[in-house]
């Protein structure tokens, strides 16, 4: 392994996958990437495979991961450059804005990967992108009589404290999630590219999915029984499980019918505010935002998804209801958030079970009348009846007309 590859792996990839401090400096140049790519085969002997395996085992007990390849290296380099574009010292660099645009274009190029060929390839991408979405940033805030100054991802320089009166200045640390923090325009535009690179991450975090996301792109992975269990439990474990279900079902119905289930919310003012530093990279003009929105509104790439994939998604969403019923927490949490149209549709899904039972089966075996199964069966029946009282009839009839035929008739045909 060359020195340059070792530096990149030790400074970025290993901390990213191992949840350590990762250091961001100058962006990786295309010529450097070619140099790294030539030695990617040496990664199979380093710590990276073990870290990937450990991270994958947080989802699956026995994941079979392929060796690191050039595609994964491109993903890493793209993620690194996204962070480099968000560096707080960009204004110090002697470069024109068009050069920063080249950095953005390079990052977008490396992030534009084809659809994963199989489940393992998708899992490998999720390992990196999932860790990237979870990234934290360690800021230091210098407080003094003149106000506060935030050092983004950096320590306060010693020169600021050298001549200060003792006790006049104080420094405190703050860890904030990077993904939801305020970014420069370029990394802000690249966030959707990051998520498009990993369909599995979008499936596990549907509320963060980019606009126009199609859940059927990852529905095939639900055929893996262990992964389907992971998805259902992760959705059900969230406090916002109803909104998650609504987001998935809303995206699915938009994909199937081409009509939004709800009026689009007004977008925030564009472009998003930067940190207010003068001389910070100006980035592209804001008209690009409109172009990106237009691209996102176009139909997605045709995905080879059939009725089995739709059924798998519907089954997973209904199973989330069942998991919440098992935890006694469903009935109380249902009422307050039932005004949103996709949410209402998600809550209405268990009411469709009589129409879908031939394809999806039932949550419990038919002879569950005694013991624990009997108790669960009673609670499930009571929950479904409660939903029947809560959900307007028109919502159920709408779903019976639009969603059920895509599962039942197509499956029987």
């Amino acid at each position: 392994m060359s020195k340059r590859l070792a530096e990149f792996i030790d400074g970025f990839v290993v901390p990213l996958l191992g949840a350590d401090d990762l250091h961001i400096g100058a962006p990786v140049r295309p010529s450097d990437f070619h140099e790294l790519l030539a030695e990617v085969h040496t990664l199979r002997n380093g710590p990276v495979p073990q870290l990937r395996l450990a991270r994958a085992q947080q989802l699956l007990a026995d994941p079979g991961l392929p060796d690191p390849d050039g595609e994964e290296l491109a993903l890493w380099v793209g993620l690194y450059n996204v962070l480099a574009l968000d560096h707080p010292e960009r204004e110090r660099v002697w470069a024109r804005s068009v050069t920063w645009q080249r950095v953005e274009q390079a990052a977008r190029y490396w992030l534009q990967l084809s659809h994963p060929s199989n489940f393992e390839a998708a899992l490998v991408r999720h390992i990196s992108v999932g860790a990237f979405v979870d990234l934290m940033r360690r800021d230091q805030i210098l407080s003094g009589p003149e106000g506060e100054q935030r050092y983004v991802g950096q320590e306060v320089p010693r020169r600021r404290l050298r001549w200060a009166v003792p006790g006049a200045l104080s420094v405190r640390d703050e860890r904030i999630p990077w993904w939801t923090s305020t970014h420069a325009p370029e990394p802000e535009r690249l966030l959707s590219d990051v998520l498009w690179a990993s369909p599995m991450t979008c499936l596990l975090r549907p509320r963060q999915a980019p606009p126009g996301w199609n859940p059927l792109t990852a529905a095939a992975y639900l055929q893996e029984r262990a992964f389907a269990r992971v998805v259902c439990h992760q959705w059900a474990a969230s406090r916002n499980w109803i909104e998650i279900g609504g987001a998935v079902l809303g995206a699915l119905l938009f994909t199937l019918t081409g009509r939004p289930t709800q009026d689009p919310e007004p977008r925030p003012a564009e472009p998003r505010p930067t940190r207010g530093r003068s001389g910070r990279g100006t980035g592209r003009p804001s008209t690009d935002q409109g172009a990106i929105a237009a691209i996102a509104a176009l139909p997605a790439t045709p995905i080879d998804a059939g009725p089995a994939d739709v059924a798998a998604l519907i089954g997973a969403l209904i199973h989330v209801h069942f998991l919440r019923v098992l935890e006694f927490g469903a009935r109380l949490g249902v009422a307050p958030t039932s005004r949103d149209r996709p949410v209402q549709m998600f809550l209405a899904l268990p009411l469709l079970l009589p129409n879908l039972v031939d394809v999806l089966g039932e949550p419990l075996p038919g002879d569950a009348s005694a013991g624990f199964d009997g108790q669960v069966q009673r609670r499930w029946t009571e929950y479904v009846e409660h939903l029947g009282e809560l959900i307007p009839r028109s919502v159920v009839e709408n779903l019976v007309a639009t969603l059920v035929p895509r599962v039942v008739k197509a499956a029987s045909a």
Partner: protein, 553 residues
């Protein structure tokens, strides 16, 4: 009387077309629920006010629901639903509802019929059998009626109206938010009213913060029996003064009523008072359930606010509130004979002092000098855990006061009767308690013997304060609750966990959910060196799919 929808009930009739209706003891058909329909909100408020004057709203509130409903065919109404009682209660409701242009119906669920009148003394029933046109969700409705869950159908002689509930009103919140109604005062002043407008026995006075001293001095000078408490009103930085006057005179009330910033409040119930000159639409004395909790409510009319005081105000006698600066200017300026409260009485004052005593008292604490801090540090290891948890430490210039029990609540009260840490610490001076929260060194007592509660008042101690006498000739120290910190937390030093140097392989054992952190390294001036193009040609528009070229420098 021509009636198509309803038919009168005969005497002794026990079977009805209308479901949920049964005859009571007098044979009058009464439903499980009662529905009152009012055309507007002010009619509803008028009904509640009239009802609260005659009966107790506390009987009605538990089963009361208020809904704003829209009527099919246009129009809105306010629906009041409550549990159906016997026919006596319904007669009363009907009388009051009719007086305020409301209508009374009885029934259950979603269908209600007109209550009895003089043409049908036993009430009304649906004219048609229920099975003629059975609706799917509301059995017992007339033909053709299909009701939803939020709909209510009322049936009168010759019409039926369907109401769809659009909004629910909380009756308790509604009653608390009602605007007060102004009532006239006697033109010649409050003294003209025989009962002083309800202030004859008791009056509450809310005084703005800046006026409190002057108002207190005025009342003190007029010998008004008073007690007061400082209350923090919402949105005001300084606490106002709430005074309770016993049997005030009309002249005093007239003077107070004319002062801006001073509000006279008439107590209308043990937990509510309404500003003088205003009246609450509801008779609050019969509606204690409308004022939940143990808060006290002050309804202020001029500023249109409702002040909630946390808990019943604990009034303090007015003698402790007055700051008296009265001096005898000349011998002839002395007031009435026999009233010597304004005269300086220093000749009668005696000092409260410590003197040696021989009686044995239970130790409540120990004052450990700083020289013995190291010994105390070692003794902490020997104190039992329960005693250690209950002990409190106050850091004083004279040493460390370890307090393990007190007659006051709060710190260390749990161990007041048991053996505390102070009994186990053989260091320093033992401290005993001569009055609740008043601590003196062991072997001393306060002289003269005054009532224990008076000692606290003389020392000016607040509810949770302690006073510590260190010895004869020294001033006592006031220990506030924040001075007393738990002994275990104060003595046990903060633990620092050693950071192990994990080998790279141990990165794999990081807990699930741990996230990496970004550290931005310094960026050099030439960080983008190499991103420029060799030929300086512009990047094509489709550069998103094309890898930008670069060169090494």
């Amino acid at each position: 009387m021509a009636s198509n929808l309803l038919e009168p009930i005969a005497a002794g009739q026990t079977r009805f077309h209308m479901q949920g209706v049964a005859p009571d003891g007098r044979g009058i058909a009464v439903g499980r629920e009662t529905l009152l329909v009012f055309p507007s909100l002010d009619r509803l408020v008028a009904f509640l006010g009239a009802y609260s004057e005659e009966c107790s709203l506390d009987d009605l509130i538990p089963s009361l629901t208020l809904e704003r409903a829209r009527r099919d065919g246009g129009g809105q109404a306010l629906l009041l639903r409550c549990a159906g009682g016997d026919s006596y209660a319904l007669d009363r409701l009907g009388r009051m509802a009719t007086a305020v242009h409301g209508q009374l119906f009885t029934g259950s669920g979603t269908v209600f019929v007109r209550y009895r009148d003089r043409f049908a003394p036993f009430g009304y029933d649906l004219s048609g059998p229920a099975g003629r046109a059975p609706p799917p969700r509301a059995a017992g409705t007339p033909a053709g009626a299909v009701l939803l869950a939020e709909e209510v159908l009322v049936v009168d002689h010759d019409y039926q109206a369907r109401y769809r509930a659009t909004d629910h009103l909380d009756p308790v919140e509604l009653i608390q938010r009602l605007q007060l109604r102004a009532v006239p005062l006697p033109p010649g002043g409050l003294g003209e009213s025989p009962d002083l407008c309800g202030l004859h026995d008791l009056a509450l006075v809310l005084v703005a913060p800046g006026l409190s001293d002057r108002v207190l001095a005025y009342l003190w000078g007029n010998q008004v029996a008073m007690a007061g408490v400082r209350v923090a009103l919402a949105g005001e930085r300084r606490a106002s003064l709430l005074l309770r006057l016993r049997q005030p005179s009309g002249q005093v009330l007239s003077v107070l009523h004319g002062i801006p910033g001073v509000e006279l409040l008439v107590p209308v119930s043990p937990r509510a008072a309404v500003e003088l000159g205003f009246r609450h639409p509801i008779h609050l004395a019969s509606a204690s359930s409308c004022l939940p909790g143990d808060e006290m409510y002050l309804f202020r009319g001029r500023v249109a606010r409702v002040e909630r005081l946390e808990g019943a105000p604990q009034f303090i006698d007015g003698s402790h509130l007055v700051v008296s600066r009265t001096r005898v200017a000349s011998p002839g300026a002395v007031g009435e004979p026999g009233d010597a409260r304004g005269v300086a009485s220093t000749s009668l004052q005696v000092a409260l002092r410590l003197r040696p005593a021989h009686g044995a008292r239970e130790p409540r604490g120990a004052l450990v000098p700083w020289e013995q801090a190291a010994l105390l540090r070692k003794l902490v290891y020997l104190i039992p855990p329960t005693a250690l948890a209950a002990a409190r430490l106050a850091v004083l210039p004279q040493g460390m006061l370890v307090l393990t029990g007190s007659s006051l609540g709060g710190a260390g009260a749990g161990l007041a009767a048991g053996v505390g840490a102070a009994a186990l610490i053989p260091l320093g001076t033992r401290i005993v308690e001569v009055a609740p929260g008043v601590l003196v060194p062991d072997g001393f007592e306060l002289w003269p013997h005054v009532r224990p509660q008076l000692i606290r008042e003389l020392l000016g101690l607040e509810a949770s304060d302690h006073a510590l006498f260190l010895g004869p000739g020294t001033d006592p120290l006031r220990l506030r609750p924040d001075h007393l910190i738990p002994l275990d937390a104060a003595m046990i030093s903060r633990l620092e966990l050693a950071v192990s140097e994990a080998p790279p392989s141990e990165l794999l054992t990081r807990p699930e959910g741990a996230a990496a952190a970004i550290v931005n390294d310094p960026l050099g001036r030439f960080a983008l060196w190499g991103f420029g193009r060799v030929d300086n040609a512009p990047i094509p528009a489709t550069a998103g799919r094309e890898l930008p070229q670069g060169h090494d420098d």
